[in-house]
Amino acid sequence: MATLGPAQLPAEASVPSGVSTAPVTKLAPRHSAFVRVTHWITALCFFALLVTGIEIVISHPRFYWGETGNVLTKPLFQLPIPSSRKTVPTGYNYVLPDQNGWSRALHFETAWLAVLTGLLYVIAGLVTRHFRKNLVPSKADLSWRALLTSFAKPLRWQRPSVTEAYSYNGLQRLTYLFVIFVLFPLVIWSGLAMSLGFISAFPWAVNLLGGRQSARTIHFFVSLALVLFLFVHVLMVSLAGFWARTAAMITGHTRTPKEDA
């Protein structure tokens, strides 16, 4: 107790499962400043990367496996959408306008911003023990019972209890760790594996993924997984109280149970 600083959670809420019956009365910062800033920069980058990524895919909505692939080879699959190039056989009798110039420029510029922000986040997260404190699940969190409860509650559209506003449950912790340390690195790696300059210096980056077209297909599926995460993330935030949770990620503070009552 004596070591609790102003930036730390109230002791009552730091129980990893987040379920505590002890009254929480203090107005505590829910998210530290670096988490809030990097969260919103990442959100902005993700939006730009998604829009420009879709635009780039539209110029060739076919995917392949291996090193090469083009309209004269058999695709792994083709998205049932029109294309911005008339060389692609889509089944639609119209061609969308070409948006690749600015889309590529913005995609790579925001990728830079996202990667630099991510590096800053990981360094700050290690230094402030953010990962250890807030994201690494405890043994109790990882019991099947606890995980199942965390999974089942939102499925029954049950709002989280008030004290859960101060800490993540095991399922949330595992999901965030998976996104931060598996999906983000994979999407960066598979993206870099398409860069001709990068792979001339680091050919293993693309060869390990099975070729440049495989890298492109992996990039697409990891991006899909990130979009799926975003949907569930926003859905869960909405279930918990969209404005309260969003405000917590902006100001750092969450409402106390008193205010909720």
Binding site: E67, N70, V71, T73, T87, G101, A105, L196
Partner: protein, 251 residues
Amino acid sequence: MNISRRKLIVSGFAATAGASGLAAAARLAQKYGLIPPDHGGIYGPGETLTYATQRLLTRHSLAREFSRSQISPRPFPNELAPPTEEFKRHQAAGFSDWRLAVDGMVHQPASFSIADLKSFPSRTHITELTCEEGWSYIAEWIGVPLSHVLNLAGVHPEARYVVYVSMEPDSFDSIDMADALHPQTFLCYGMNGSDLPVPHGGPLRMRLPRQIGYKNLKFITRLTVTDTMKKFGNGCGCVSCEYGYAWYTGI
């Protein structure tokens, strides 16, 4: 009072150090050729970061080369604008009158026929051609290294870029000297064991395996060596830049 004065002095120092640091970085970047011609505008920072990083990491790196068995059986040539009358005349004559002019900052402006280029030591590499749209194919490319032709003309030491012009109307592009002198950068006149087919840019195309397809311009007729992009296009030395495409496409 003391604290606020100290704060003022410290932040003043920090601001000065930051500003002069940035200015020094910009001067160094300029000196070592880390600033691309399209460094302005909202996408300028991204273009500059990519170009500078790749120039530092990949100046001498070689594009991956593949085995003969990996050559794509059906290379996709992409669509072409209808040929001009001038091109049709050249094609009818078997490109015997096709000339490649070399001018600008060179000691000896020159002009070469396709036969001249073929008489120079020829090189081949089996590399992937990659379109910015996402598709690709592997082919064996036959040509003369651009550096060989540039050395024949004698490039001035202060030269920074090579602009290359296509016979297609309003079609030109440019690369820095690092790419121009790179051993895999070819003036390419052959593909998969025969003359370069017209759909692939025959009789002569630029072949840069470390950059995206649209930098690999088809139907090359002129090389201009220069130290500035001011007179070329909108100052970026590249027609694609006028349509919002990047000058440097190592990414």
